[in-house]
């Protein structure tokens, strides 16, 4: 480990103004990142509480804890909270906000006021959704399928739809800000191929934000207008087509999966390089794989609709295109593995998360190939196999990367180190709890247990109890980091500017960084991930 002097800088972004106004009116991308961190953590635990209730209900075959209608609301609110208010903003809005300007040597994002506005938009959208929850919940599933959502459901569809609609604009503004910042704000010497892979993944994610989000916004708006004013867009009684809603919905919501996982891939690339002390193997392939995933992601939405009355020919085309996504994904997995090969690996907490990500993402990705195959997909559609698959991507992938990134950059964010032993322990608990929760669901789904029912035949109980037990372990695993990260804010050991001995620009400034990020604009003279010499030599 490097021996740079460890000190707390006298002036940094956290002590540049105190009081509620200095936070709520800030334009500093780092503070806005922390505002997002607080908000998404809240939604994560609200969404998590619904998951707890779902797993409690499923511990026994009979529908005894909650009624079927309540259960419908539970899984809907779990999905809405987790997808729109946690997973989608998770890494981009927190770590991305904090890191994009610092990693490219800029003072701030291109549009700081817009950045703050995006947080308020997110909060307003969240408030509508929380209102829907308090007013009695919503039961359409997070997918809002018509005509149930427009005609039949008697629950709070409109406030929820408004919440999702509004929050979409916070994603769009974040994506816009990142794209412009990456194009126009790079420090001298920070060429495109010297950009960290995290920046490439943020760029790819931003493209999806900007191109995909408006489509779901208008789609959800159509649902709300149809429900509110009895207009007809998808209403079969007027000759409308409910399947058209599904097309429009998945045109965004499949790419949204890549909004969730691409940022995590970016984080993992950073972690693997830093903890193996090596240039990422095939850097440009990993960078372009991000863009390839973003582009291909827009061409595969039909694989959500193999049983929805889509023509066989479209299904075949969507099936082939879906298989293609495996190529850039595999490029990444193989390149991370090749980077680790003969690397000088140090088993710090972030690296544990990175390895967890690679393993779980591989399982999630490979089971995705099962679902891209039309015949097999028809067999497992709407079963727990699907649930297990996308939780391996979203929890095993996104959340692992998020936690890994949060630990890796926590010393930069807070200026202090977290307790390493506890962190390793909880990484282990999360990995164990996660697999115990979701692996049995693959088996359950393959055996034919359908999703979205609160009761099930008794022969499925053993696997369901395993899953519920795993979920309680997973829950503990999430609580521990929250507690010790808060604790470390005050009591953690001082981190110093570069606790990991990494070579990115973010490690050249103090921890925590000053409000303007760097004392003077950095000039980049070394290649990305150049571990042939320590950072001090590069800077000097």
């Amino acid at each position: 480990m490097p021996s740079s002097k460890v000190f707390m800088p006298p002036r940094h972004y956290l002590n540049d103004g105190y009081g509620i106004k200095s936070w709520l009116l800030t334009r500093d991308h780092k503070r806005i990142g922390l505002l997002y961190l607080a908000a998404i953590t809240l939604f994560f635990f609200v969404g998590g509480a619904f998951a707890v209730l779902i797993r409690l209900e499923l511990a026994t075959p009979a529908g005894d804890l909650v009624s079927d209608e309540t259960y419908n609301k539970l899984f809907t609110m779990h999905g809405v909270m987790m997808v729109f208010f946690f997973l989608i903003p998770s890494i981009p809005a927190t770590l991305g906000n904090f890191l994009v300007p610092i990693m490219i040597g800029a003072k701030d994002l291109a549009f700081p006021k817009l950045n703050l506005a995006s947080w308020y938009i997110y909060i307003i959208g969240g408030a509508f959704t929380l209102y829907a929850l308090v007013a009695g919940g919503v039961d359409t599933g997070w997918t809002f399928y018509t005509p149930f959502s427009t005609v039949s459901s008697t629950t709070n569809v409109i406030p929820t739809a408004l919440g999702v609609f509004i929050t979409g604009f916070s994603s769009i503004l974040t994506g816009l800000n990142f794209i412009v910042t990456i194009h126009r704000m790079r420090a001298p010497g920070m060429t495109w191929f010297r950009m960290p892979l995290f920046i490439w993944s943020m760029y790819a994610t931003s493209l999806i934000f900007v191109l995909g989000t408006p489509v779901i916004a208008i789609t959800i708006a159509l649902v709300a207008v149809e429900r509110l004013f009895h207009f007809g867009f998808f209403d079969p009684r007027l000759g409308g087509d409910p399947v058209l809603f599904q097309h429009l919905f998945w045109f965004y919501s499949h790419p949204a999966v890549y909004i969730m996982v691409l940022p995590s891939m970016g984080v993992v690339s950073e972690l693997v390089a830093a903890f193996c002390r090596k240039q990422v193997f095939g850097y440009s392939f990993v960078a372009f794989a991000s863009l390839a995933i973003a582009v291909l992601g827009f061409l595969v939405w039909g694989h959500h609709m193999f049983v929805a009355g889509q023509s066989v020919y479209s299904a075949l085309v969507f099936s082939i295109l879906s298989f293609l996504v495996a190529i850039p994904s595999a490029v990444k997995v193989f390149n991370w593995t090749a980077t680790m090969y003969r690397g000088s690996i140090s088993w710090q907490t972030p690296m544990l998360y990175a390895i967890g990500f690679i393993g779980l993402f591989t399982i999630g990705g490979l089971t995705g190939l099962f679902l891209a195959a039309v015949g097999l997909d028809v067999h497992v559609t709407d079963t727990y196999f699907i649930i297990a698959h996308f939780h391996y991507i979203m929890v095993g992938g996104t959340l692992m990367g998020y936690l890994g990134g949060l630990h890796y950059w926590w010393p930069k964010i807070s200026g202090r180190l977290y307790p390493e032993f506890l962190a390793k322990l909880s990484a282990g608990i999360i990995f164990l709890g996660f697999n115990l929760t979701f692996f049995p669901q693959f088996v359950l789904g393959y055996l034919g247990m359908p999703r979205r029912y609160h009761a099930y035949p008794p022969e499925f109980q053993v696997l369901n109890v395993l899953s519920s037990a795993g979920a309680s372990i997973l829950g503990v695993g999430y609580l521990i980091p929250m507690i010790y990260l808060m604790w470390s804010l005050r009591y953690g050991r001082l981190a110093g500017s570069n606790p990991w001995g990494a070579v990115g620009l973010e490690w050249t400034t103090t921890s925590p960084p000053p409000t303007e990020n760097f004392a003077e604009t950095p000039v980049v003279t070394w290649d990305v991930y150049d571990y042939s010499a320590p950072l001090e030599d590069h800077v000097a």
């Binding site: 300007p101 191109l211 995909g212 159509l222």
Partner: protein, 222 residues
């Protein structure tokens, strides 16, 4: 990188995160273009829905389209195109630093935009009076009554969303007028006018597509 000739480190309009006005202007312009790409996709969902239903129900769509007032629609098209002209001239005036002319042209643009909205609301009122607003009170010849509702749903949604953009555009023009009034806009710094112009032209172009798609169905020769 950026030419040093346009380096104004102490210009009052220069935001702290930028090194130069040129960088700031490039960033703002790129930001507006990216936003317009988002807008294309936003309207794109509607255009896609329209295309599918028009392909399925061409006769009903033509019959419903005949109920729209082509004259008012055509007048509105002319009004909007003229407002784009005054907007383009406003950008030119800003570049040359002709403050008074700039303000006159902005007011003209706003007046034309407001006339568009006025004519549009007359049309909406007519549709309301003729029971062509979708829903329980919708009335239409029996053969097409179901599919015509889809047409009018799309008509109100698309033109409504466009009108909302016009209202936002008027708000932006008001802010621009304020900037011009205070003398913030100079030949060195006219980016706000320029990118507001981009937005205004975009909203105009959306209408150029909406007009034939909604008003001119089945009106060509035999």
């Amino acid at each position: 990188m950026l030419p040093d000739a346009v380096h104004h480190p102490h210009h009052p309009a220069l935001a702290h995160q930028f090194d130069s006005l040129a960088q700031q202007s490039e960033a703002a312009t790129l930001g507006m273009w990216v936003f317009l790409v988002t807008e294309v996709l936003f309207f794109g969902g509607l255009f896609c829905t329209y295309t599918i239903y028009r392909g399925w129900y061409p006769e009903a769509f033509a019959a419903a389209s005949h109920e729209l007032d082509v004259t008012l629609g055509a007048i509105n098209t002319a009004v909007l195109i003229t407002s784009s002209l005054t907007m383009a001239l406003a950008v030119h005036a800003a570049q040359l630093g002709q403050r008074k002319l700039l303000m006159i042209l902005l007011v003209l643009t706003m007046a034309l935009g407001a006339s568009f909205l006025g004519i549009k609301s007359v049309e909406y009122y007519q549709k309301f009076a003729e029971h062509h607003v979708p829903g329980p009170s919708f009335q239409f010849e029996k053969e097409y009554v179901r599919h015509a509702q889809i047409f009018f749903s799309l008509y109100f949604m698309m033109t409504g969303l466009h009108a909302l953009h016009m209202v936002i555009g008027l708000g932006i023009m008001l802010v621009m007028l304020g900037l011009a009034w205070r003398g913030t806009i100079t030949p060195e710094y006219y980016t706000p006018i320029e990118i507001s112009g981009l937005y205004w032209h975009f909203v105009d172009i959306v209408w150029i597509f909406l007009f034939p798609l909604l008003y001119l169905l089945g009106r060509h020769g035999p």
